[in-house]
Amino acid sequence: MCHCGTRQARTRGARVRSVPPQKRRDRCGAGASIPRDSRTQIRPTPLLRSATRTPHPHPPSLAAVAASRRPAEMANAASGMAVDDECKLRFLELKAKRTHRFIIYKIDEKKKMVVVEKVGEPILNYDDFAASLPANECRYAIFDYDFVTEENCQKSKIFFIAWSPDTSRVRSKMIYASSKDRFKRELDGIQVELQATDPTEVGLDVIKGRAN
């Protein structure tokens, strides 16, 4: 077993980025026998989603497909908020080069897109991250959580947190919730997702509990 596989791969940074995720996993030497550790996203959603969506009665024409590409991939009642390229780049840096501990994103309503608000240095810890979430405003956040398993193996998990405190305005709650699905899909490699309305829901104990 190789528990540190993903870690090695990630620290190699630039080299790894050019390698497709499938190969990256092989690099650690343990081959495909470590699916638990892989950074590939585990998604139970597609099954559920296809079950809820009514199939289209007629196969759409080519023109229709072309015209409807964007709406078709969007969620029900989604806001249509775009995502700044910067968001993806910073996330890739966090994932592959590990140059950030956390990233805080916010929605810029004037630009109609999600933008990076703040990035945290790798030396910062959870408390710094928790302090960066505003008490009365919604945010999205990525947190890279380092921990040691019972077998004394260094591991890390990438958390996605949808932060919408009770005291924030209904309008911003609505915007963040309806843009979340689209935004999350841009960030490939999120391992655990949390939604929180008060600090206890993103507490260190919750993060610890979800990491295993």
Binding site: P44, T45, L47, L48, R49, A51, T52, R53, T54, H56, P57, H58, P60, A64, S68, R70, P71, A72, M74, A75, N76, A77, A78, S79, G80, M81, A82, E109, K112, M113, C138, A162, S164, D166, S168, V170, R171, S172, K173, M174, I175, Y176, A177, S178, S179, K180, D181, Q195, T197, E201
Partner: protein
Amino acid sequence: MYGGDEVSAIVVDVGSYSCKAGYAGDDTPKAVFSSVVGSIEQTGEADEAKAGTASDSKNGAKPMDVDKAKTKRKLYVGQELEFRRDHMEVISPMKDGTVTDWDIVDNIWNHAFKQRLLINPEEHPMLIAEPSTNTGQQREKAAELMFEKYKVPALFLAKNAVLTSFASGRATSLVVDSGGGSTVVAAVHDGYVLQKSVATSPISGEFLTDCMMKSLESKGVVIRPRYSFKKKEVSPGEYKVMDLDFPNTTESYRLYCMRAIASDIKESVCRVPDTAFDEVAYANVPTTSYELPDGQTIEVGADRFKIPDILFNPSLSQTIPGVDGFADSMSARGLPRMVIDSVNRCDVDIRKELLGSILLSGGSSSILQLKERLEKEVLEESPGNARVKVLASGNSVERRFSVWIGGSILASLGSFQQMWFSKAEYEEHGVSYIQRKCP
């Protein structure tokens, strides 16, 4: 695609009890009126004249409550219902949370646009909130009516549960919507309603109102509908009540008026008990007085707690004389049972998250202590390590209108404007395209 920033969309939510309509971007709906309408069956002689007006109205501005020749009835919507009319029956367009009579819905929309908001529907995109259980046919029917009759430039249909969920900042949650005509529990995951998790129950605001009314009647209280008497101030603080007699008033209208009063009693005095209701333990609770419109004062005692407890224990309603029980035991589950059943029908991976974010909304959710009691009971019935959290907005207006408010915000977002199902798309792809645009 429908573009432009200054769109001033209209948001409409036709519920089983009240219809909410207003401009997107507002905090609360501009127009809130009853979803039930008054209907007077027309007799033969009016038929011919009516056939004439019906064909006229097709190609022009249609006056309010003009009846369709085929149905032979005259409908009274909104405030017109406040006046008693001979032979006027009160009918509802919905049954069990779904629309059964589109003609009435059409009249309600028309009333909202022409009489209340005073807008021309051809100039505003419409966002319509639909029940979570809506079928494909129902949505197509709604879209067709909107595009063909009202000629709206763009349309969007959004599910009630999704709007509520988004308005409280969650894309994944279990929405408990206890409204006027039905209580609906639906799981929302990443912005989609999980259809198999949707549970409905007829135990809701109106049912509680009926129970309240029957219970008071069995105790000898006579609720006199407002139209049946005249009240005059003879000297300051002293009133004289005179009975009026209208033999041609229909039974359904009399009931409608009595319900309005019983509903107010319910809203003013009721409170969910902390533990299951027990006739003996609550026999000596202090009473609360309530003054009826005709001046008589009644004392409400144990009923204050018993009536709301029906939400948790529906069989309690059978102890009230005159209330029909439910033949089907499945439909008469208590609220905590519905929540647990609904969660159990979802994928095992998301159950924990659903239990951790149960959202309360709808008019009946404003009953005091409902949130605390629900949280307690769900916690007792859920698997040991689960973290149960019931969320409800502290603001009762927000609770009651959460669906509309969600729609209002969504439709006002600049980035949402690309999502509309536009008239051009309707003309090119037909009505079934709505299933793709608004999944």
